[in-house]
C-alpha cells in the first residue's frame, strides 16, 4: 500500500499534486503574514511626501514626540490653520481637500485618523527618551519624503526593538541591563 502511494507520488499526477499543495500552503502563509501588515484605510489620503517637501517639520503636526509618550495626531483645526489660506484647498480638482477636509471643518467633525505605527497595549513605548537618545523620526517610521500614505517600513516587534537596544548599549553593561530589562517596556 505504501509502495503504491510512493509510486503514485513519483508519477506525473503525483508530482503535480505535491507541487500544488506546497504552493498553496506557502501562499497561504505568505498571505497570512501580509494580512497583518496591510496599512489601514485613512479618512484623508494625506500625502506626507508633499508636506515634508514643503518644509513642514514632523514635530509641527506630531508635537508630543518631543515631550511625552505619544506624538499625537493633528486635529482638523491644525490642518485648517494653514489650509484656510491656501487656494488649493477650495479647488474642486483636489477632492481630498475641497471635499473631505473642508467637509470635516464645516461639519466641525474630528478627523478619525488611524494610527499606523502601533505597539500592543502591553508594550509601554515612550517617544521622549528615544528622541533624546538622538534618534530621528525616520529611523523607525521610514523616510516620509518617499511615501504618500504613512505605513510601517518594518515589522515593529520585540526582536526589532531588542536588536536596536542591544546594539546601542553594547559597550555599556549598565545601560545594557536597563535596555534589555523586561520591565523597561512591559508592566
Amino acid at each position: 500500500m505504501i509502495r503504491n502511494f510512493f509510486e503514485w507520488v513519483m508519477g506525473p499526477m503525483g508530482r503535480i499534486a505535491v507541487l500544488i499543495t506546497a504552493l498553496s500552503l506557502f501562499s497561504l502563509a505568505a498571505f497570512g503574514i501580509y494580512q497583518t501588515q496591510v496599512p489601514p484605510e485613512q479618512p484623508i489620503q494625506f500625502p506626507h511626501n508633499l508636506h515634508v517637501r514643503l518644509g513642514v517639520q514632523c514635530l509641527y503636526c506630531h508635537p508630543g514626540a518631543l515631550r511625552g509618550p505619544s506624538p499625537g495626531l493633528p486635529t482638523q483645526t491644525k490642518c485648517w490653520g494653514c489650509h484656510q489660506q491656501i487656494a488649493k484647498t477650495f479647488d474642486p480638482n483636489f477632492p481630498e481637500l475641497s471635499e473631505k477636509l473642508v467637509g470635516y471643518i464645516e461639519r466641525n467633525e474630528p478627523i478619525p485618523w488611524v494610527p499606523v505605527s502601533q505597539v500592543p497595549d502591553f508594550v509601554h513605548f515612550t517617544h521622549r527618551p528615544h528622541i533624546a537618545a538622538g534618534l530621528n523620526c525616520e529611523n523607525c517610521h521610514g523616510d516620509m519624503t518617499q511615501v504618500e500614505i504613512a505605513e510601517n517600513p518594518q515589522v515593529m516587534n520585540m526582536g526589532w526593538c531588542l536588536n536596536c537596544h542591544k546594539s546601542r548599549a553594547a559597550d555599556d553593561p549598565e545601560k545594557f541591563t536597563k535596555l534589555t530589562d523586561c520591565g523597561t517596556c512591559h508592566y
Binding site: 509601554h124 515612550t126 534589555t180 523586561c182 512591559h186
Partner: protein, 258 residues
C-alpha cells in the same frame, strides 16, 4: 540572548545584593486598616473587581490586602495590629526560578520582581511558590463581563473602561499579576529626572498606596541610599521582615506595634 535571560533568572534565584534598590517600610503601629491603600492600588493599577461570589471564594484581585487576626476571648480579646500584605519584592524570590517561560523575572535595573503579563502562560507555579500568597490570577475577563456594560444602540459600552490607567496593562484572563511597586511611576519619575539631568530625589516617587495612606504608615524610597528616609526607618529597632527565615530577602520592613 538566552544566556542573558538565564542569568537574570539565576540572579533571582541566588541574589547577590541583600540591600536592594527600591524598598518600603510599613509602620503597623499607625496603620488603621482603613483600606485606602487597597482602593488607591485598585484605581492606579486597573485591578478588576470580581463580584461577591468569586470574592468570597478567594479570587479577589487585591494586590495589597490588610490582614488582622484575633487573640484571646472576650473580654480580653485583642485584634492583632493591621498588617498590609503585598508583594515583598524579594531579592531572592521563590516565584522567579519556577516560571517556565520567564514571565516572572527579576528586573536587573530596578531590582524588583517583574510579572511580564504578555509572556505569562498561566502555570500559576509562581503563586504556589510565593510564601506570602500575594500573587493574583486572572480567572476570567472580569472587566469585560457584560453586567458592567450598558447597551447603546446595539453595542456594549463599558463606562468603567474610561478610567483605565493607560500606563498599566489591562490584564486578560489566564495571566498572573501582582504588586509592581507602581513601576510605571518609577519609570515616569526616572524619565522626568533624566530629562532634567538629575537623579530621582527621595520622596519624589511614591506608589499609590503610600500616596493615599492617611496615617503615613507606608514609606517608600531607595534602600541603597543611606540618606533616604526609608533606609533609615528600615533600621528602626521595631523593624522586622516577614518569613525572613526563608532567605527570600524581602524589600519590605514592618515596624511592629509599641
Amino acid at each position: 540572548m538566552s544566556i542573558d535571560l538565564n542569568l537574570v533568572g539565576a540572579k533571582g534565584a541566588i541574589a547577590q545584593e541583600a540591600e536592594g534598590k527600591w524598598g518600603m517600610v510599613i509602620d503597623q503601629d499607625v496603620c488603621t486598616g482603613c483600606q485606602a491603600c487597597v482602593a488607591a492600588c485598585a484605581m492606579e493599577n486597573n485591578l478588576s473587581f470580581v463580584g461577591e461570589e468569586d470574592a468570597g471564594y478567594g479570587r479577589t484581585q487585591h494586590w495589597i490586602r490588610i490582614e488582622r487576626f484575633w487573640e484571646g476571648a472576650y473580654p480580653e480579646v485583642k485584634s492583632t495590629p493591621f498588617q498590609p500584605m503585598l508583594c515583598q519584592q524579594c531579592g531572592s524570590a521563590p516565584c522567579e526560578p519556577v516560571c517556565p517561560v520567564f514571565a516572572s523575572v527579576h528586573s536587573q535595573s530596578q531590582d524588583i520582581n517583574l510579572q511580564v503579563y504578555n509572556r505569562c502562560v498561566g502555570t500559576r507555579y509562581c503563586a504556589n511558590n510565593c510564601p506570602y500568597q500575594v500573587r493574583q490570577f486572572n480567572y476570567r475577563d472580569y472587566h469585560l463581563d457584560p453586567i458592567h456594560a450598558n447597551e447603546v444602540d446595539g453595542q456594549l459600552v463599558y463606562p468603567f473602561h474610561n478610567q483605565f490607567n493607560p500606563d498599566v496593562t489591562v490584564r486578560r484572563r489566564g495571566v498572573m499579576e501582582k504588586c509592581t511597586f507602581c513601576i510605571q511611576r518609577i519609570h515616569k519619575a526616572e524619565d522626568t529626572a533624566k530629562s532634567q539631568g538629575r537623579e530621582v530625589v527621595d520622596g519624589e516617587m511614591v506608589p499609590a498606596c503610600a500616596q493615599a495612606c492617611p496615617s503615613n504608615a507606608i514609606t517608600f524610597g531607595r534602600l541603597d541610599d543611606p540618606e533616604s528616609l526609608v533606609s533609615q526607618m528600615a533600621h528602626d529597632e521595631r523593624g522586622f521582615k516577614h518569613l525572613e527565615e526563608l532567605n527570600t530577602m524581602p524589600r519590605i520592613t514592618y515596624l511592629k506595634e509599641g
